[in-house]
Amino acid sequence: MAKKGIPLSVLIIGVILGILFWGGFNWSLELTNTEEFCISCHEMRDNVYVEYKDTIHYNNRTGVRATCPDCHVPREWVYKIRRKIQATNELYHKVLGTIDTREKFEAKRLELARHEWDRMKENDSRECRNCHNYDYMDYPSQGRRAMDNHIRGFDNSLTCIDCHKGVAHELPDMYKDDASAVILKH
């Protein structure tokens, strides 16, 4: 009588291969999810990374840091994979050299910043909330301005990025957003 079903040996090999492939996939995915990987390209290292080093997410009183992927790559698997697939476009532009000089980068800064602002606005600043959750904010221990603006902002269903633009990088030319906050170009 012929045995039905999958032989035990095939099953075991399948499980081992599965672990190897899945583990290998996840491992290499996580390799691309490190600050080291991000700044292995000069586009990131010489522009946004330098600016970020002066900010509170790099250098602060408690020594807790948010590195590039903490803000720019979602943690939940589905969103993470979607963002990683989108990021293949960045590889394409790396090859094209779209922002391979400071001048090219500055010319593109507003557009690139807008992509991140739009993404944050759309997902209710999900990556901020991995660490900063307003359900647990102790308003009285914040400064007066912070307390007033947080309460007012949340009441008006604003999200973090609506106010906290440029917390980790230099702001682009903001003339279109707030002409009062820039030197007018005559």
Binding site: I56, G143, E170, P172, S180, A181, I183, L184
Partner: protein, 147 residues
Amino acid sequence: MKKIILMRMAVMVGLIGLSAHALAENVQSLRGAALEENSTDAIVMQYQKDEEPIPRDYLQQPPLIPHQIAGYQVTIKHNKCLSCHSWSNYKAKGATKISQTHFENRDGAVMSNVSARRYFCSQCHVPQVDAEPLVENTFEPVDAMRH
């Protein structure tokens, strides 16, 4: 002849050394240590958190900043201060508005926005720490400015 020159040089070196020593003894250092000694450890001060506006002591005094400004970007592209203190934003943010003198350029012409020479706020406006004055100061505001 050579001896005389050598002697003169020796005397001059000695004089320079003496006068430098005398100078060092008379100079009082604000650091709290003598000139030739290493500085004492710097005292780390915390900038004051949000306070009410600080009254001026004289008419032309740039108002002091009664809050922290760490991380505020002021570049040609964006001015964080003006996102609250500009004429178009101050009401919504409950902030003090910048004075109209800030719209004048160096020729006295009034511009449509903040003049470049008044754009970099912290050149004149500074946040405060709760520190004892380094030197005693007996300045008193005139009666009209007393508060």
